[in-house]
């Protein structure tokens, strides 16, 4: 698993071809232990890889038919999707499945009505969603449920008002949002909560002063080395280039951080030989950090990349096709 990584000393360059190649070969590593240890998140892995390829301008780099077939093979009778055909249905992978199909324009390849009914069944009286029948209940799953239904045009199937109230109840004294009411503010959870408010046209439930406080907190995530952290007094990590920046984008305050410093940090996390990005320079690359690093670059307008939708983490080309021009 710990492969030697050649980190770039040329932080002004994005190695697009290397990253495309890295993602294309992810599924050919079946002789590596890591491949099997990540089976429980395979479908999300496909979503991360495919999104990165779209943003890099290589949407056809994974075989479309095989991708659709794999997604189909992950759907269960209850309508939800598992991470892999041998894993139970779960909301996280249900959203990944629907996002993948949305990106390759093949939503009719699966039983979407069954999917809607699966998602609806996971909402609790408080408005929150559970990840699966036995799983945790928190704002991650409110986001995944709502995006799934939004793509399928079926937000009417759930109690949107209660979901919004639940999310608003997760706002903290510092302006940020946590996993559940009372939990510490965390950039990843802020993304999911603002995403819910955006998708349900509820951003005006936050006062202008509260939005400013939140955007100020998010701007405070930038460290002197340019990278962003997820919480105060924690280390920087490439994936927060997405969670923090997409949140700032939803608040219209992307310019509150130092763009050039962030770009320098993200580019320094590339493996210039094998491709891919790591959480920070010196660590092993993976597809999760690869997509969120690239998506972060998209948000700050790095040349040659496709535009990304900060609410959905999909190419704007896809969300425009789904929802029309904004």
């Amino acid at each position: 698993m710990a492969t030697a990584v050649a980190f770039t000393n040329k932080p002004e360059e994005l190695f697009v071809d290397k990253h495309v190649k890295y993602i294309q070969t992810l599924d050919t590593r079946k002789d590596e232990l890591e491949y099997w240890l990540t089976e429980h998140l395979r479908l999300s892995g496909v979503y991360w890889g495919l999104t990165a390829l779209h943003l890099l301008g290589h949407p056809g780099a994974l075989p479309r038919d095989e991708t659709i077939k794999f997604v189909q093979s992950c759907q269960h009778e209850n309508g939800g999707f598992g991470a892999h055909p041998s894993h139970d249905a779960h909301l996280l992978y249900t959203l990944s499945a629907i996002q993948i199909l949305a990106m390759v324009d093949a939503l009719d390849a699966v039983d979407t009505e069954a999917c809607v009914s699966y998602v609806r069944g996971l909402q609790k009286p408080s408005g929150v969603f559970a990840g699966d029948e036995w799983g945790e209940e928190d704002t991650r799953f409110v986001y995944t449920a709502i995006q799934t239904l939004k793509i399928l045009g079926r937000l009417d199937a759930i109690d949107v008002g209660r979901a919004v109230e639940y999310v608003l109840g997760c706002q903290n004294y510092d302006g940020g949002f946590g996993l559940v009411p009372g939990a510490e503010s965390h950039s990843g959870q802020i993304f999911t909560c603002l995403g819910v408010l955006s998708m349900t046209d509820s951003m005006d439930r936050l006062t202008p002063a509260s939005k400013d406080q939140l955007a100020g907190w998010l701007a405070q995530r930038q460290l002197p080395n340019g990278g962003l952290n997820g919480r105060p007094e924690k280390l920087e990590d490439v994936c927060y280039s997405w969670w923090v920046m997409s949140s700032l984008a939803m608040l219209g305050k992307l310019h509150w951080i130092d763009r050039n410093k962030l770009v320098g940090f993200i580019l320094s996390c590339q493996d210039e030989v094998r491709g891919g990005l790591a959480d920070r320079k010196g660590d092993a690359v993976d597809v999760f950090h690869t997509v969120f690093g690239i998506a972060g670059l998209c948000l700050v307008g790095w040349g040659g990349l496709k535009e990304v939708d900060p609410v959905y983490c999909m190419p704007v080309e896809t969300t425009k096709r789904l929802f029309g021009a904004k």
């Binding site: 036995w134 559940v180 406080q213």
Partner: protein, 285 residues
């Protein structure tokens, strides 16, 4: 795994499932399907009165010990904590659970999953008490920059207050003093600054009461003596509220140009907002 699939397909909840799922979880505790199946099996054995008998030596208490050993080796995993929560909720008994989470805090004092579980415990068993407050005092004594512990302290002090009810004056006073002491030690630590502002709002105490406290860290008229960007930030609000536009502008300009230039666009936005009479934060938190 394919063997477990067969077991699950047959809806087998016999004792051997415990050994089988333990083996798979040992290899990969992120395997969400397996945790759910293990819990259902335990519940089924419990309902049948079989746990802790000659037939099944396993007990809930042994299960909790085993889960803790997995947690120690997989600190980033969150399925473990949900499993634990389901069990402790079912047993309706929190004995020993505080000590277990504290054992985890010794490994990582900012572990998000463990803190979330701890908050669940406090809510589930109404533990908004002196012991809980003392934990946050102790942990902040060990690391005054631990934002998770600050967040938990706010939760413990104010989390049980019914909506709209004001906290007792002496509690507000005590927490203001607690945060001030932390700021004295680490003026550039963001957590106690967020905390003190929130306590003031909760207690309906004006921000202006902090003016002389802030000025000792960041005298606007003497930039070389400034020790805290956060104090400057608060002072800009205090001066603005008092109608002293020149001083408020000076504080924000010092932040943009000298003390926090990485966020200069933010500070200049704040400068343009001066005099708009909208408090930087509404009193919702």
């Amino acid at each position: 795994m394919s063997y477990l699939r067969a077991v699950m397909a047959a809806n087998d909840h016999s004792p051997r499932v415990l050994a089988l799922t333990a083996e798979i979880i040992d290899m990969n505790p992120a395997h969400y399907t397996v945790w759910g199946y293990r819990f259902r099996t335990l519940m089924s054995l419990d309902t049948a009165g079989q746990l802790g008998t000659d037939a099944v030596a396993w007990t809930w208490s042994r299960e909790l010990d085993w889960v803790q050993s997995i947690a120690r080796n997989h600190e980033k995993n969150y399925q473990i904590w949900h499993h634990r929560q389901l069990i402790v909720d079912h047993l309706a008994d929190s004995t020993g659970e505080r000590a277990r989470t504290e054992e985890m805090f010794a490994l990582d004092s900012k572990n998000y999953h463990v803190w979330t579980y701890r908050q669940w415990l406090v809510r589930r068993f109404a533990l908004f008490d002196e012991e809980e407050l003392a934990l946050t005092t102790k942990m902040l004594g060990e690391d005054i920059r631990n934002n998770s512990a600050w967040n938990h302290r706010f939760f413990v002090v104010f989390g049980a207050l019914p909506d709209g009810q004001k906290p007792a004056e002496e509690v507000v006073e005590r927490e203001i003093e607690f945060a001030k002491k932390a700021i004295q030690l680490t003026p550039q630590n963001p957590s106690p600054w967020s905390y003190i502002k929130a306590v003031l709002r909760k207690g309906n105490v004006g921000l202006a009461t902090l003016q002389s406290f802030c000025e000792q860290f960041s005298p606007v008229s003497s930039p070389d003596d400034i020790k805290s960007s956060h104090a400057l930030d608060v002072l800009s609000e205090i001066y603005d509220e008092a109608g002293d536009a020149a001083k408020a502008e000076k504080a924000l300009e010092l932040l943009a140009s000298k003390f926090d230039p990485v966020r200069k666009n933010y500070w200049r936005y704040r400068r343009r907002q001066l005099g708009s009479n909208s408090p930087v934060v509404s009193a919702t938190a």
